[in-house]
């Protein structure tokens, strides 16, 4: 059966509590193939937690997640990644002692299953390095390929987060505030990169800049206190009085 018979990602009744704090209260979510969904909501709404639940970094209390029809609830994070679910982090999570190129190459080695090989070095690894250069060129950060990540400006580190996720050749990509903490001038470059992401990847983006979300996403989900408050087309969401009250009141959409 074709994989297209199922949505790329489907979430039903996902629940999670930290003690008394209910951060996910029966969340439903669906990403079609090539979807562009924006997830918005105030700080502490549970957006990052949702990403952590989807990727298996946190165990869910209840609910079910399927990737192209396959239930992945029982899979560890690495198993989910191998089936095509990749993410970026709200706070950079990079190998800071490594070069930019090696950060990407290490991910490619993992994807290509050569990361278990202990006694072969040159050939397999060289292929990973070459492909890493391609990814860096796409991101426009090839000129800093040899630089140690710890010596890299924050904006370029954000691009590297995305480059690594793309190097995994995901079918579903979860972007957790890709431009967070980046000055406006550099954020512009990140947003350009987002526009050029491969059309076949289903993308969920968490983003605070409303202009960006409303331009990028064709469907928007509004989350408040662990619950989905509203979902719909950007125009609908922008016009919704309830959404404006809790979230967009201070924004200029």
């Amino acid at each position: 059966m074709s994989a297209f018979a199922h949505p790329a990602l489907s979430v039903r009744g996902l629940c999670k509590s930290f003690g008394a704090l209910r951060v996910a209260q029966s969340i439903d979510l669906e990403l079609a193939h090539g979807a562009r969904v924006g997830l918005i909501g105030p700080n502490g709404a549970g957006k990052t937690t949702l990403v952590n639940l989807l990727t298996g970094v946190l165990p869910a209390d209840a609910g079910t997640i399927s990737l192209e029809g396959e239930v992945i609830d029982k899979l560890k994070p690495e198993g989910r990644v191998r089936r095509g679910l990749a993410r970026t982090h709200q706070i950079n999570t990079l190998l800071v002692e490594e070069s930019v190129r090696d950060n990407v190459a290490i991910a490619i080695a993992e994807r290509e299953r050569v990361a278990w090989s202990m006694l072969r070095y040159a050939k397999a690894w060289r292929a990973c390095l070459e492909e890493a250069d391609e990814r860096l060129r796409e991101m426009g950060i090839m000129d800093v390929a040899d630089r140690r990540v710890s010596a890299l400006p924050y904006g370029q580190q954000r691009l590297l987060e995305i480059a690594i996720a793309l190097a995994l050749k995901p079918r579903v990509l979860l972007l957790d505030e890709p431009a967070a903490g980046v000055p406006a001038a550099e954020a512009h470059h990140i947003h350009e990169v987002l526009e050029r992401l491969p059309a076949e990847i289903a993308i969920l983006i968490i983003e605070h800049d409303m202009d960006v979300v409303f331009r990028f996403a064709r469907h928007i989900v509004v989350m408040v206190q662990g619950r989905v408050l509203k979902r719909g087309a950007p125009a609908e969401i922008a016009a919704d009085p309830q959404v404006r009250a809790v979230y967009l009141g201070r924004s200029t959409v």
Partner: protein, 317 residues
């Protein structure tokens, strides 16, 4: 690094064989310590496994080799291989129990396993000889070379095994597998996000490292034809960590430098004053940690750079 430098430690080790005289057995124990420290560099240095339990593997290999020689077969190489393999299996089992933890928790668990094993060996005195240890005889290496009174066979046998392990370690840390260990040390979250089975990867390197430490223990038992409870003692774990930090982590050769300097300084300082050699080692360690981030290997690096500049300066090409 210029490949010629790789020959240096081995040439020194061979030169030592011809010039050591009465110090040859001290040389053998340095080689054993190098192997133990090298094993720790893989687990602690590269993979970031915080451990004070490598004595468990050292002792496991030592008793394994002794018991195998006494009860099964006195062939050294066969005994070495068996002791090494058994130690690796022990590491897989204990590693599966503890390697999902990190930091101080992991440190405590490695310590606990070492203490439990030492106490078990103490209780099982019928097998281990308890406080008296075990004395035994070994057959000739490859059926040809007897362990002689001057320790010549012991030295060369240990040197060859160290060389084999060094080549393996070098390949492992420079392989894609080794690169993933570098990643795990820096950020387990990052590695999970790219699909690394972190736990299994750690178990694998823990087993390789333990096998190496087991080999070191087996060599120590075989070359002295004696094994005692001290091989399982916490002091062994501690000394290995000190040697590694002293020489420099994640260099492999740091193990060589750290172990050699430690044993030589201890030997000399103990002759000058048998009570105060610990002060010398302690002072050396403090100076290294405070002033040399990369251990004593950094001194060598500085020397090498200086030498290169000197050669280039005198050479018009």
């Amino acid at each position: 690094m210029n490949p010629a430098w790789h020959a240096l430690p081995w040439l020194l080790a061979i030169a030592f064989y011809f010039t050591a005289g009465g110090y040859l057995s001290l040389g053998t124990s340095i080689l054993v310590y190098i192997l133990l420290t090298l094993s720790l560099d893989l687990a602690l240095g590269y993979a970031g496994i915080i451990t004070l339990g490598h004595a468990a593997f050292f002792g496991f290999g030592a008793y394994g080799a002794a018991l195998f020689a006494i009860h099964v077969n006195a062939d050294p190489l066969l005994g070495l291989v068996v002791a090494t393999a058994v130690t690796a299996v022990f590491a897989v089992v204990t590693g599966m129990l503890i390697l999902h933890t990190q930091g101080v928790t992991l440190l405590m668990l490695t310590l606990a396993i070492a203490v439990l094993l030492a106490e078990a060996a103490n209780r099982a005195y019928k097998v281990t000889g308890g406080d008296d240890g075990l004395q035994f005889t070994m057959g000739p290496v490859l059926g040809l070379f007897r362990f002689d009174l001057w320790g010549q066979t012991a030295y060369l046998y240990t040197l060859v095994i160290l060389f084999v392990w060094f080549v393996i370690a070098w390949k492992v840390v420079h392989s894609p597998f080794g690169r993933s260990l570098d990643g795990i040390r820096q950020s387990q979250a990052r590695m999970r996000a790219i699909g690394t089975p972190v736990w299994w990867r750690l178990i694998a390197i823990y087993a390789i490292s333990a096998a190496m430490a087991g080999s070191a223990g087996a060599l120590s038992a075989q070359t002295t034809r004696f094994v005692g409870l001290n091989t399982l003692g916490l002091l062994v774990s501690g000394i290995a960590v000190v040697m590694l930090v002293l020489g420099g982590t994640r260099r492999l050769y740091g193990a060589f430098l750290g172990a050699a300097v430690y044993v030589v300084v201890q030997d000399f300082a103990a002759k000058v004053n048998p009570f105060y050699w610990m002060f010398v080692i302690g002072g050396l360690l403090m100076a290294t940690v405070l002033f040399l981030e990369g251990g004593l290997m950094e001194v060598l690096d500085i020397g090498r750079r200086w030498l290169r500049r000197l050669l280039r300066g005198s050479d018009p090409t």
